[in-house]
């Protein structure tokens, strides 16, 4: 509860501008002239929307938008997502300061104003400030009323690229621990602020120039404090979707994100998605095979969920040895944590907060320092030497591949 009424408003930071007089707005006043409509009318003036456009430069809001826009220069296209194009950009006054400019596409299917994805992303990123969550620097609109989100530039790809590039990117338990730790802190912070991400997967975990993992893409996020209306179950990319959503639970919690984190961890270890279902039914089957069949015994109430269906043949929950044989490289504690994130019953599943308290983080090997984490192949020209080092080339102090394998053995 927010009991402390101590917070003062940031008056000092803002005060110096208050005294500023209106900067002679008359300068622009004539601009309406050219467009005045010729129809003479004694009392009322004929409305002219384009006249309004011209005097728009007088609005404080417009002016601030212009200022915001002018701070950045846009460069080449970096990529394209479902609802946005992403461009490289930099600060006008300091071209060394790079940003990513995410320009929201105009959606043809959604005709009810600003796209909900964009609204959600902006709403939550405005409030969340954390080293493991992508920073939203600014927002401005272009003339065509497209939204532009100025985001922190994250040049080193995402976890998916690292996981998939098995030929050139090598990593080990200490690296997995570092990445998982950063992702877990991001998720913990979201949950502390009553935000569910609802789309955690390796390619939404972007990587900063210094190796920091940054959770991005808040287009599906929502606050979980809103008590009204059932929640949609159609969230989270299928492979990372927890059983409660697949069974149609209308109320869910941070546990949905934790499940996804668990599957990202599993995927980092084996370098293949652990439960890559090709349909919702298939996803449920894979969960039953890979973890165990959800039943009243392991999850009280599950059979009452609206879309509860499981294969006839019940698979008992797999024991620790099953996971050790697959994920043993992260050690006993690592496997313990993994198993707790993949508990079927969301009420029993570990929370992000408790994940951070898990002993795995303190066991050897220690998480790799950010600067020593493996990088994606084909680094950016502009980056420093250590970032240019050919990914996958195992350096001296990192030991060679074989040695690392042995290390994993020792870590058990």
């Amino acid at each position: 509860m927010a009991v402390s009424p101590l917070v003062k408003h940031p008056t000092d930071a803002l005060q110096q501008v208050t005294a500023r007089a209106v900067s002679s707005p008359l300068k622009n006043a004539n601009s309406a002239q050219a467009s005045s409509n010729g129809t003479p009318l004694s009392v009322s003036v004929v409305p002219n929307a384009s006249a309004a456009m011209q005097s728009a430069s007088l609005d404080i809001a417009e002016r601030m938008n212009e200022d915001e826009k002018r701070k950045y220069v846009r460069g080449k296209k970096l990529g394209e997502g479902t609802y946005a194009n992403v461009y490289l950009g930099h600060l006008r006054h300091d071209p060394s300061q790079l940003v990513a400019i995410k320009k929201i596409k105009v959606q043809k299917e959604y005709t009810e104003g600003m796209a909900p994805d964009a609204v959600r992303e902006i709403k939550h990123l405005q409030e969340l400030s954390h080293p493991n969550i992508i920073t939203l620097h600014s927002i401005f609109s272009s003339k065509d009323q497209n939204l532009n989100l100025v985001l922190e530039y994250l040049p080193l790809g995402d976890l998916e690229m690292l996981i998939r590039d098995t030929d050139r990117v090598r990593y080990g338990a200490a690296d997995i621990k570092a990445w998982t730790g950063m992702l877990t802190r991001a998720v913990w912070f979201c949950h502390e602020n009553f935000v569910l991400h609802r789309d955690i997967k390796p390619n939404n975990c972007l990587i900063a120039a210094d190796g920091e993992v940054k959770l991005a893409d808040f287009g599906l996020a929502r606050s979980f404090a809103d008590p009204y209306k059932p929640m949609t179950t159609n969230v989270i990319t299928r492979w990372y979707r927890p059983p409660e959503l697949l069974f149609g639970a209308k109320h869910y919690s941070g546990a949905v994100d934790v499940w996804s984190v668990g599957l990202v961890l599993a995927e980092m270890v084996t370098r293949a998605a652990y439960l890559p279902g090709n349909s919702e039914i298939d996803q449920i089957n894979l969960i039953c095979q890979g973890i165990g069949t959800p039943t009243e015994e392991n999850w009280a109430g599950v059979t009452k969920l609206p879309e509860y269906t499981v294969p006839k043949e019940v698979t008992p929950l797999h024991g620790k040895n099953y996971y050790i044989s697959r994920f043993g490289v992260i050690g006993h504690e690592g496997v313990d944590l993994l198993m707790k994130t993949l508990i079927l019953d969301p009420k029993k599943r570990i929370t992000a907060r408790d994940m951070l308290k898990h002993e795995w983080w303190h066991k050897d090997p220690k998480p790799t320092l950010k600067k020593n984490l493996p990088k994606k192949s084909g680094g950016e020209e502009k980056l420093g030497d250590d970032l240019k080092r050919r990914p996958g080339v195992v350096e001296e102090d990192r030991g060679n591949k074989v040695a690392r394998k042995l290390d994993f053995g020792a870590a058990r």
Binding site: S4, T11, L14, T18, S23, L26, A51, E62, G89, S138
Partner: protein
């Protein structure tokens, strides 16, 4: 508690939408002045020029009208049976919007519908646009969203509003835990405080000047002073007395603000009748080009459509960013103005 405060300081409500009263007043008078200048220039330049130029609203009159239209918004929200938090969010959007825009520039009767629709969207409560528009007389969906973009820009893309409702629930739980007051009394205070929170802070400037918990304490104190005092004492039992005194003062000043607009006023016909002359005055002095927001929106889209060919110069890079920024005289003028005015809100997000 400390983390609660730290978290609030990160919120957009604190970073972008909290002001000292003098700062808020100066922003509003600037918006008022800009509107007067723009509208009178527009009227003079029409053919034939409008003569005499009508009387414009003063900032004080705009403030009264804003209270009135926020009230109208809350009544409409009640009619639409929107959840409490969404009503509150929409009301705050409207009040924020009219900090940097004059009521004479954008029609509040239109904007309040946009606020209700967008407020619902921002809170994840999706209503079909046409279903929503049907609830209002002579209103199309197109009209409801015509100003959505202008609204979002006006509220500086801060879509998350921190309300005092949850703090009240916490306070009531705490009071029950203390076991020093009758449950009936607590229930009564709870109900009354909640009613106050659903109205008074929303039609005043409370959200601009006070934190959610300060507003909650002020409302609780209006509902039952002893209960509020007891809670404040409890919360600051370990702190130096100056701290507690400071808090009591802040809560007191917030209380005075809320007291001016008690919830009974919401459906007070007299209050509404008294606004008639001002509404009439507004009709005479508003921006003639922005009465029809749908047409304005169309004009914007059209202008965006006819992107001028860009010279292949060094500027290209810059220009490409904003697809269609017109580099012309107007632009140059605006740039000058923008420079002169700086950002009245201070630094950017982040």
């Amino acid at each position: 508690m400390a983390t609660e405060d730290a978290r609030y300081r990160q919120s957009s409500q604190f970073r972008l939408w909290s002001f000292a009263p003098s700062h808020l007043a100066s922003l509003r008078s600037e918006s008022n002045m800009l509107a007067k200048t723009a509208i009178s220039a527009r009227l003079q330049s029409s053919n034939p020029p409008v003569c005499p130029i009508p009387d414009f609203l003063t900032p004080a009159e705009e403030a009264s009208l804003l209270t009135y239209y926020t009230n109208e918004l809350l009544r409409a929200a009640e009619f639409c049976e929107l959840p409490t938090e969404i009503r509150a969010t929409s009301a705050i959007f409207l009040r924020r919007f009219y900090v940097t825009n004059s009521i004479m520039t954008y029609p509040p009767t239109e904007l309040l519908k946009t606020c209700l629709f967008f407020g619902s969207k921002a809170d994840g409560f999706y209503i079909r646009l046409n279903k929503f528009a049907e609830k209002f007389p002579n209103t199309t969906g197109e009209e409801v969203i015509a100003a959505e973009y202008i609204l979002c820009q006006g509220i500086r893309f801060a879509f998350d509003v921190r309300h005092p409702f949850r703090a009240l629930e916490g306070a009531i739980m705490e009071l029950r835990r203390l076991e020093s007051f009758e449950n009936d009394r607590i229930d009564r205070a709870h109900g009354n405080a909640r009613n106050i929170l659903k109205y008074s802070p929303l039609v005043t400037d409370a959200y601009f000047h006070y934190t959610p918990s300060q507003i909650m304490f002020a409302a609780l104190s209006l509902a039952d002073e002893d209960l509020a005092e007891r809670l404040i004492k409890n919360a600051f039992s370990g702190a130096p007395w100056e701290v507690e005194k400071k808090v009591v003062e802040v809560v007191q000043s917030c209380r005075e603000m809320l007291q001016c607009e008690p919830p009974e006023k919401m459906n007070d016909q007299e209050v509404r009748k008294a606004m008639k002359p001002l509404i009439k005055k507004l009709k005479k002095c508003r921006d003639p080009d922005r009465v029809d927001l749908v047409a304005l929106q169309k004009a914007r889209k059209e202008q965006a459509g006819q992107k001028p060919k860009k010279p292949k110069s060094g500027l290209q890079d810059d220009e490409a960013v904003f697809g269609g920024a017109l580099v012309d005289e107007r632009e140059a003028k605006r740039r000058k103005m923008a420079e002169a005015a700086n950002d009245p809100f201070g630094p950017a997000l982040g």
